[in-house]
């Protein structure tokens, strides 16, 4: 038998109280959530289900003092509700509401004995605050994880290296090319050259509005590095603005093979690779 301290004794009394009035307190809580217009994205059924499990988890943490199960549950909950557009303030809001609802019920129960009420609150408050903290942190963690995942996906999508023919890669660049993206572009291109055994690469920058001096330099270096790996690079779609930047920074552009548009670039690439594309006279589009 372990010795129980007065605090633990109070806490178990408290837990018993919360279990006894579970239905009433949970409904009161759900009502206050609705009044505060939180979790508007959820249906009443979902809300009933979630509030019940949050309530049970809450009481369990008060009883055991272990937040591990709650952490797990909070992460799981976050995973389900983040795609529905539930915001951080809503999650924190409902947990704080539950804390308040339960505190009120304790006031009610112990209002005759102020000293005892104080002791009960001493036991209740730290546990309740720890729960609120855990839920908020789990939610934010989960959201950050989702954001990181999306960033990775965007990054990968933003510089696709596409094989068009054997030994021929296209790298369309769309959107602003900052130095982060430029570095990543280089990595992906050089890896792509190896993977696809490319001999010719067409980099099309029609969709890039402008580049700064650092990025322009980086682009020139990428062309040189590709050459070291045995692939020649054709750059197409240089806008007048980018052309001006490249000329102004005074890099050696004589080695740069540039062609006006992507179509011309592909034709040149095919010529280099020895392809001859001919049009069939009787071709139909049927």
């Amino acid at each position: 038998m372990t010795q129980t301290t007065p605090g633990q004794h109070l806490l178990s009394e408290l837990v018993a109280h919360l279990r006894e009035h579970r239905t009433r307190l949970r409904e009161e809580w759900a009502e206050r959530i609705q009044q505060a217009h939180l979790l508007a994205a959820m249906t009443p059924q979902e809300m009933a289900a979630e509030t019940t499990s949050v309530y049970d988890n809450y009481v369990e943490v008060l009883e055991t003092g272990s937040v591990e199960a709650l952490q797990h549950y909070a992460r799981d909950l976050s995973e389900r509700i983040i795609p529905r557009g539930v915001e951080t303030h809503e999650v924190v809001g409902i947990v704080l509401l539950l804390r308040d609802v339960l505190a009120r019920s304790l006031f009610e129960k112990y209002q005759r004995d102020f000293g005892l009420l104080n002791q009960v609150l001493d036991a209740y408050e730290p546990a309740a605050n720890r729960i609120a903290n855990t839920v908020a942190v789990s939610f934010v963690d989960e959201r950050e994880r989702v954001i990181r995942q999306q960033q990775d996906a965007i990054r990968e999508l933003s510089t696709p290296v596409l094989p068009v023919r054997e030994r021929l890669l296209i790298l369309p660049i769309i959107g602003v090319l900052d130095s982060d993206r430029a570095r990543q572009l280089t990595e992906q291109l050089l890896a792509g050259i190896r993977r696809h055994r490319a001999r010719v690469v067409v980099i099309d920058i029609t969709g890039a509005p402008d580049v700064d001096v650092a990025v322009a330099n980086h682009l020139v270096q990428t062309v040189d590095a590709s050459r070291l790996m045995g692939a020649s690079v054709i750059i197409t779609g240089l806008s007048p603005k980018i052309a001006q930047t490249l000329v102004t920074i005074g890099v050696d552009l004589s080695k740069m093979n540039t062609i006006g548009d992507l179509q011309g670039g592909l034709e040149e690439a095919e010529r280099l690779l020895g392809y001859a594309v001919t049009k069939k006279e009787d071709a139909t589009l049927s």
């Binding site: 001999r199 590095a225 050459r227 070291l228 045995g230 692939a231 093979n257 280099l272």
Partner: protein
């Protein structure tokens, strides 16, 4: 490193990073063998290197130039992506020496089967 003969081509593979004196010996050996075997082409395979410093790059350029004077064309093959970018960033290219992705490509380049895709002056 090892130097193999394949027809009229010498294939020199560098297996580990070489220090400066080893590089010089490599250069001497290779250029001597070009004469012995009457080679017309030299392929230097650096696929195993994860770093090429400025002296190594310079040595490669000298070998190519010496080989040219002795009647052989040189191709450098197998430069790793990170190595390629580092070399370019530090401003050390391979000069005018042709490069190819790997041994196979290098042989094709030397035997003239492939247009190396570069504009020649």
């Amino acid at each position: 490193m090892s130097i193999l003969r394949q027809g009229s081509t010498l294939i020199a593979s560098v297996h580990t990073a070489l220090d400066d004196s080893e590089l010089e010996r490599f250069r001497t050996d290779l250029v001597a063998q070009i004469g012995e075997h009457r080679s017309r082409g030299v392929i230097i395979d650096v696929a195993a290197l994860d770093v090429i410093d400025s002296f190594a790059a310079l040595t490669l350029r000298t070998i190519a130039e010496m080989a040219r004077l002795r009647g052989a064309r040189t191709v450098i093959v197998g430069i790793q992506p990170e190595v390629a970018f580092t070399m370019v960033r530090l401003g050390m290219g391979t000069g005018s020496i042709p490069t190819a992705l790997d041994l196979e490509e290098g042989l094709a380049l030397l035997t003239g089967g492939v247009d190396d895709g570069r504009r020649r002056p």
